[in-house]
Symmetry: C2
Subunit: 399 residues, 2 copies
């Protein structure tokens, strides 16, 4: 209630570009850390040129880089590297998503940086991790979704392998990286020493498959695309009503009993040998779906969602992106879209933060920085460099 944020007082040097790394440093910034985004003076982060744009500025970039400060630094120049080393001495965390070996070539690998500051926590996220035959391969979200098996189980039964419609591998990478960094931060309170976190998008996608690989291990059959149903449960799927589709999710026996007795008024299904226990229902889910849709075809979608919920059965609509931006629960109560005033874009809405604390009004959102916007504040104010040198360095392309 006092405006304090969980990660206040932490300083993060952020060398990341595109999505996976910036998603991590976005979270760290949202939670209160001072995130210094270090960008090359020749254009900065690739996503500064990603669509969509407004007033010539990327809204893509602006969304994921709120709550960060931008400092330009040419790490290929000796002066740029020296400034970076000075920053490392005053920072808690370095985050980067270059291919393995790039930081070492610059003389800025973890082994060098920890000599400057043994408390530094060094987080990297790459496509494939820092060791092994694929380690030097370039990594992009779609590759992690494809090579990590997620696409092979996503899609309707007759579809080709399908990617989740967002950059899910990158988002998972950013989240796992944040977990690793914060765990290392805890360890540092006991040991006084930082460590290096090594996150691979490929690992993150595989870990997210959860129990799907167990199905393969159990019987040797390779799981395929099964549309919207979920292998361990039924009925747990999308069902067609008179005027649209809804979700009904009976994750246990009790919920199925409520559905049959209270809403469908078909108690006979409970003693039907095809549907008696979860295993039966999963085996005969096609027949069960026909019965449910036969009954549901008499009812409107939103009417039936209400009735199902009133009777304690998990159900809901399928929202598109317009729907979510207009939903009172999402917008007003969960604050998942917040307005900021961006210096070029103007008033814009960005995503809220999913990591929330109760009774905590401290979440705040500063707009994404222009390229090099905070050079003076950080290099002169925080690091103590003379301002005339900043001008000189800018002319030389170092800043």
């Amino acid at each position: 209630m006092d405006g304090r944020r969980a990660l206040d007082h932490l300083v993060v040097l952020d060398l990341t570009r595109v999505v996976a790394g910036p998603y991590c440093t976005m979270l760290l910034g949202d939670l209160g850390a001072t995130v210094i985004k270090i960008e090359n003076p020749a254009g900065g982060d690739d996503t500064r040129s990603y669509a969509p744009y407004r007033n010539g500025s990327s809204m893509y970039f602006a969304n994921i880089n709120r709550n960060k400060k931008s400092v330009t630094l040419n790490l290929k120049s000796p002066e740029g590297r020296e400034i970076f080393r000075s920053l490392v001495k005053k920072a808690d965390i370095v985050v980067e998503n270059y291919r393995p070996g790039v930081m070492e070539k610059l003389g800025l690998g973890y082994d060098e940086l920890k000599k400057l500051n043994e408390r530094i926590i060094y987080g990297s996220v790459t496509g494939f991790g820092v060791r092994g035959p694929y380690s030097k391969r370039p990594g992009y979200d779609i590759l992690s979704q494809a090579m990590g098996g997620l696409m092979s189980i996503t899609g309707q039964p007759d579809d080709p392998p399908t990617r989740a419609g967002n950059a899910m591998g990158d988002v998972l990478g950013g989240l796992n990286l944040t977990v690793g960094i914060l765990a290392a931060l805890h360890e540092r309170t006991e040991t006084g020493k930082g460590k290096r976190v090594d996150i691979a998008l490929l690992d993150c996608v595989i870990a997210s498959l959860d129990s799907a690989t167990q199905r393969y291990f159990s019987d040797g059959k390779v799981p395929e695309r099964i549309g919207n149903r979920y292998a361990p449960c039924a009925p747990y799927d999308v069902f067609s009503a008179k005027d649209g589709k809804i979700v009904i999710a009976c994750g246990n026996q009790h919920l199925f009993e409520l559905l049959c007795t209270r809403v469908m008024k078909k108690p006979g299904l409970l003693t039907d040998e095809r549907f008696r226990v979860m295993e039966d229902r999963v085996r005969n889910q096609g027949e069960l779906k026909e019965i449910i849709e036969g009954w549901l075809s008499d009812y409107g979608a939103s009417e039936m969602v209400e009735i199902l919920l009133e009777n304690g059965i998990p159900a809901g609509p399928i929202n598109d992106l317009k729907d979510i931006t207009e939903d009172e629960h999402i917008v007003k109560y969960r604050k998942m879209f917040v307005e900021v005033e961006h210096p070029k874009i103007g008033k814009m809405k960005i995503n809220g933060c999913a990591v929330k604390f109760l009774d905590d009004e401290s979440l705040s959102f500063e707009p994404a920085p222009l390229l090099g916007e905070n050079n003076k504040e950080i290099l002169s104010g925080f690091l103590g460099m003379d301002e005339y040198i900043l001008d000189e360095y800018k002319e030389k392309g170092i800043l």
Copy 2:
């Protein structure tokens, strides 16, 4: 190298069931915390009955509950609640995924628990969060994917809305909850006080959409399903070769130039006004895809992946779940499938951990516990209860 793990010495009381909460406590356990899974004596976690099974035990449960200890406790009995309160006094973290209000009704809400231990960190993950009109609704993964907009942008263009083929909402919930808990843990080192983390699956899915909502905000057009391509980049998609499909991901101008000149030998594309810069290529991605697939149809998929990678262009195969369990990089170097000896299932492979530290050989995996397996160890050994009381309580259904 000393076998120390990042979260050693932390004690977690884990009241979670199914996936979202257990994914969080799995991570905490993998990272070294002592996770005490508290289950109702009448069967425990729902997923103990989820397919697939071996020797009558759920492999689903065993995968996500490794590195945890199981204690049975009937929280509806006064004795059970009293034991829980005693555990809270000695613990660092409580994690639960009941519907909002359930813990309060038991007299075990955060406000009560912090009176017992002001350092306790209380993490909850629910479908919709603890406030707002949907807060009391039951939450399941598929509902978060449907209501959070993810399904509306996942799938081939002619498909209905499609869920990611795993329990992605739950996994995102577990990851965001872990981030919130670890951030609160950091704050506790400065304030001496815990706090309550409030994670909603719905929020987590919306936050994962990343820039997709910016597309809607930019022009008011509701984003639809576009198969495997990615709205901000092209070529960045799945392409058909002679004998199968591969991914090619040109995330910036330089990579597209390499593709045209070094591999496709079609430098003319670079000056073709349809494809000159990223914005052009995104607008004309259908035509570009035809050109690429026309060229690619002369080559085998795995042959061309090799050639593309040799020339610095991000590319890869599309793996199914069998492929990932046999890939040397994934299995040997990233250790994403590890063998444990489960007391009932026997030797089994479970997912490895995606949160890794470099040069850290400390990751270890204990098999998931049988229901109540650690009652004596925790209640008598850790909490100091007399063993004869444990027997009495077990007979009474308290344990």
